[in-house]
Amino acid sequence: MYLLRLALQSLNNRRVTALLTVLVIALSVTLLLSVERVRSEARASFASTISGTDLIVGARSGSVQLLLYSVFRIGNATNNIRWDSYNNISTLPQVKWAIPISLGDSHRGFRVIGTDQSYFTHFRFGRDKPLSFAQGKPFADLYDAVIGADIARELGYQVGTELVLAHGAGAVSFVEHADKPFRVSGILAKTGTPVDRAIHVSLQGIEALHVDWQQGMPARGAGYVSAEQARELDLTPTAITAMLLGLNRRIDTFAVQRQVNQFSGEPLLAIMPGVALQELWSLLSVAEKALLLVSACVVLTGLVGMLSAILGSLNERRREMAILRSVGAKPWHIFSLLVLEAMALAAAGILLGLGLLYIGLGLARPILEQEYGLFMPFAWPSPAELKLLATILLASLLLACIPAWRAYRLALVDGLSIKT
C-alpha cells in the first residue's frame, strides 16, 4: 500500500510527462471503445429496427441496398414498383398484410414516407413492439401527417402544426410543395429507430403533391392544380418505392419470395430482412475488424509510449532507487514500484478514456442519430468493452515488467551508490 503511495507521489513529481502519457493512453482507449461501441450499437440498433416483417419487396437491385433504403432510410431506390404490381402481390393468398412505402420527399432533412393505415397496425420494431401514438391519431385527411418523436422534439411540432414538404431527400431543397401544406395529425411515441425521424403521410397525399408535375418539375400556369382542386382528382398512386409483407405462415416465405422474384410484370426483388442484415454484417465485418485492429494498434502505441517514458526516466531516477535501497527497499520493492507506476498510468488512462468516450458520446449522439440513424444510449461499459479494458490493463502490466526488470537489475548493480 505504501508502495502505491510512493508510486503516485513519484508520478506526481513528474506530472507533465505522466499527464501526457495518460492522455495518449486515454485517447487511444477512447478510440478503441468508440469503435467497439459504434460497432455493437450499430448492430443492435439495426437489428431492432424491423421485426415481424417476413419479406421486403422493391425494384430489382441489391438486397442490401433495398434493406437500407426501405428500412433504414439510407440511400435511394433506383426504381419504383408499379401500383398494379403492389396490388397483385399484396393480394396473394399467403400474404397476411402489406405495407406500401413511397419515398422521395422530405421536410427539413427528415424523410417523408407515403404509406397507408396498415403501417400503424402492422409495423413492428424491437421485439415485436407495435407503433403507438404519443399524441393525436393516424392521418385521416389527405393533407394529414404523422411525425416521429424526434421530429416533434427537435422542431417543436405539435398536433395541428402546419408543415411544407420539399421535393427530394436532402436537408436543403430548392423545390418545395409550398402550395399544399400538411397538418400534423399525430405524433408517434419514441421507438429508437428511423421511424422517429420520419414524416408519415398517405399515399394519396404524396400523389396530390405531384399530381400536376411534369418531367420532374412543378407545373406552371394552366396545368397548376391547387390543394383543394387536388381533392377532387383520382389520387390512386401510380407507383410506390417498396413494400413490407407479413405472411400468414412463416413457412411460405421462400415460396412467396420466389414468386416475387419471378414476377412477370416487372423485375422485382424480395428479401428476408434477417438474411439481408446478415449479408450487410458480413459485408461490414471486414471493415469492422480492420477498424478494431487499427484502434487496438493505437492502444498498443499508447502503451509503448508509456513504456518508453518510464524507461527514459530510469536513468535519472537511479538516485531515487539508491535512496530507497538505503532505507531498506528490496529490489523487488523497486520492481513493484515501477509496475505500480505503469498500472497507475494505464488505469488513469483508461478512466480518462472512458470519460472522454462519454463526453464524445454526448457531443456526437445528435449527429450520429441525425446523419446515420444510429442511436447510441449512454450505457455502462458492456462486458465486451470491460474485456477490452481488462486486456489493456493486462498488456500494460506485461509491458511494465520491462522497465521494472531493468530497474531491478540497476538496483542490484548500483546498490547504495548514487550514480548520475
Binding site: L6, V327, G328, I418
Partner: protein, 236 residues
C-alpha cells in the same frame, strides 16, 4: 571487552574482470564509537560502503555486523538486516524530492518493521518520532514537516537525511561525505548535532570523508588507503 559492532576480516573484493579493489586485513568498529574514515575519491570507498551494507559480497573474508556474518544471509535477509540496523546519509540530494520532510524521515519505518517499532516505543507515534529527531537537529519549525524536501536548503536537507538515518535507533549510522556540500561553519555545527543524536540513539557512526580537518572531532580516525593493502600494491 564487548564484541565489536562491525568487523571486517581478511576481506578481498574485486569487480568482475578487474583487479582487486579492496584488500583489508582487519577493521573493527565498537558499539557507540565515532570513527572517521578518510577516503579520497577512487579509493574504493563507495564499494566498501556497499560491502558494509551487504549489497555486495566480498570474494574472500567476511563482514560481521552485530555478530552476524552478512555472507551467511540471503540477499533478501541482507536487505532486511541492513534496513533494520543501519542508517545512511549520503553526500547530497539524500531526499526523495516528491515526499515531504516528514515522509522522508519516516521512510525507513515503511520498509523496516523493527525500526518502526522502536520509533513507536520511544515516541508513541511516528510523527512525534520524526519531530523529535528534527528538533534535535535544529529543525524545530513544525511547518517544515509538511514542506516538500526540495524546498529546504542543502544544509537543512542534510539534517533531514541525518534524522532519517537515525529514526528507529539503528545500531550503525554510515555517513558518506555528508558535509561536502556545506561550508566550514555548517560542517562543524552539523557534526555536533549528528554526534549528539547518535549518542542519544545509541548508534555508532562511521563517517567517510576526504576532509581531514574534521578528523580530530572523532573518537578515532583511519585512512582507507592505509587500511587497504590493494592500493599499496597498485602504488608500487
Amino acid at each position: 571487552m564487548t564484541s565489536p559492532l562491525l568487523e571486517l576480516n581478511e576481506l578481498r573484493f574485486a569487480w568482475p574482470q578487474q583487479p582487486v579493489l579492496l584488500d583489508i586485513a582487519h577493521f573493527r568498529l565498537q558499539a557507540g564509537e565515532r570513527l572517521f574514515l578518510k577516503g579520497p575519491s577512487g579509493s574504493g570507498k563507495t564499494t566498501l560502503l556497499g560491502l558494509l551494507g551487504g549489497v555486495h559480497l566480498p570474494q574472500q573474508g567476511e563482514v560481521t555486523l552485530l555478530g552476524q556474518s552478512l555472507a551467511s544471509l540471503s540477499a533478501r535477509q541482507r536487505d532486511r538486516f541492513r534496513a533494520e540496523h543501519t542508517g545512511y546519509i549520503f553526500q547530497m540530494f539524500n531526499l526523495l524530492p516528491y515526499l515531504s520532510v516528514q515522509d522522508n524521515v519516516l521512510l525507513p519505518c515503511r520498509f523496516s518493521a523493527r525500526r518502526k517499532d522502536r520509533a513507536l516505543q520511544r515516541h508513541g507515534n511516528l510523527e512525534a518520532a520524526a519531530a523529535h529527531l528534527l528538533n534535535g537537529l535544529g529543525l524545530s519549525d513544525p511547518a517544515l514537516l509538511r514542506r516538500p524536501a526540495t524546498a529546504l536548503s542543502i544544509g537543512q536537507q542534510q539534517r533531514v537525511a541525518a534524522a532519517r538515518a537515525l529514526i528507529g535507533n539503528p545500531e550503525l549510522v554510515i555517513a558518506d561525505e555528508p558535509t561536502s556540500a556545506l561550508d566550514a561553519d555548517s560542517r562543524e555545527a552539523f557534526l555536533q548535532l549528528l554526534f549528539a543524536e547518535c549518542s542519544e540513539a545509541g548508534s555508532s557512526l562511521l563517517f567517510v570523508s576526504h576532509d581531514t580537518a574534521l578528523a580530530p572531532l572523532f573518537d578515532r580516525s583511519l585512512a582507507l588507503p592505509e587500511l587497504n593493502r590493494a592500493t599499496h600494491l597498485e602504488a608500487l
